[in-house]
């Protein structure tokens, strides 16, 4: 029995096999990346140790941030190198086959869907837009309570007013973000809304209020960048990331 498995990174046109782009590229287990070609399609793969990348081992490691980050960044590096030059359909992290035959079978069995997916991302790239609501400055100089107020009542009133003000602003910023998303989506062939990221992960004081990926062609990307720049204001701060390989737009069987 073989002591290695095959880690699948991405699927692209057969032309990738003749490309220089994968020279000197190593995969998640420090083995050189290569391609497997079946008809018009190529799979980008690299060998991994069967034990280190067993189901159980991966499951255990998913909670090990160091491992997770290393694998994620290496996977991304491989995909990204190709995406700069070729249309590519990245495969979800940690998709593993026992041997080359399994990957070749996949390329044959799902050739039509895979080709359609590649066609959808051809000439396009993914850009991320994240929106943050700027923190609300609490009014330092609160009006002095009038003599007639019971001290407790006036404190509670001020607290309530302040809370309402913050809530209204949050609502307003969220509405603006939603409108902008609708507008950005018009520039894109497709869009995908991601869950908002936890502030503990973003490391930012602002609350995230928008997290969307857009699939755009070159003109769309330029227009998107321009609109994001123009729409960034005091209350809503927008950030553009990309270009990304089209990770968010390669689900099979979707239009």
């Amino acid at each position: 029995m073989s002591d290695h498995s095959v880690y699948l990174y991405a699927i692209g046109d057969a032309a990738i096999a003749d490309s220089e782009v994968l020279v000197d590229t190593t995969g998640v287990d420090a083995v050189a990346v290569h391609t497997l070609v079946e008809g018009p399609l190529a799979a980008v793969v690299a060998s991994v140790d069967r034990d280190r990348f067993s189901e159980e081992s991966i499951r255990t490691h998913l909670e090990d941030l160091e491992w997770l980050e290393k694998v994620a960044r290496t996977h991304h590096e491989v995909v990204d190198r190709i995406a700069r030059v070729h249309p590519i359909a990245p495969v979800r992290m940690a998709t593993i086959y026992l041997d080359d035959a399994g990957v070749r079978q996949l390329l044959r069995d799902r050739a039509v869907e895979l080709a359609a997916t590649l066609d959808r991302v051809r000439g396009r790239s993914e850009w991320g837009v994240k929106g943050y609501a700027a923190p609300v400055e609490t009014s330092a100089a609160e009006p002095a309570a009038s003599a007639s107020d019971a001290p407790g009542t006036s404190y509670l009133m001020r607290r309530r007013t302040e809370r309402d003000r913050v809530a209204r602003r949050r609502e307003r910023v969220a509405e603006t973000a939603e409108k902008l998303h609708q507008e950005f989506a018009q520039l894109a062939a497709d869009s995908r809304v991601y869950p908002l990221q936890d502030p503990r992960l973003t490391g930012r004081r602002e609350e995230m209020i928008l997290n969307v990926a857009y699939l755009v062609d070159e003109a769309g990307a330029a227009a998107l960048a321009q609109r994001v720049d123009a729409a960034t204001g005091n209350e809503l701060r927008l950030e553009l990331t990309g270009p990304w390989a089209p990770y968010s737009f390669t689900s099979l069987g979707e239009s």
Binding site: L65, E77, D80, R92, A94, I96, L98, Y194, E218, W244
Partner: protein, 58 residues
Amino acid sequence: MTYATSRADDVALVDLLDRLLAGGVVITGDLTISLADVDLVHISLRALISSVEKLLEQ
């Protein structure tokens, strides 16, 4: 299209995990590491959060 910015090293891990764990072509490999989307994202986020908290405690 220019690829001058936002290359591998600059990419925020949390943005990368959004994409690598919930995006990409989903194929059942021979090793069915059933990466139930949401579960996996939660697992990874939990790992991230706990490691961030550990850093803060130090």
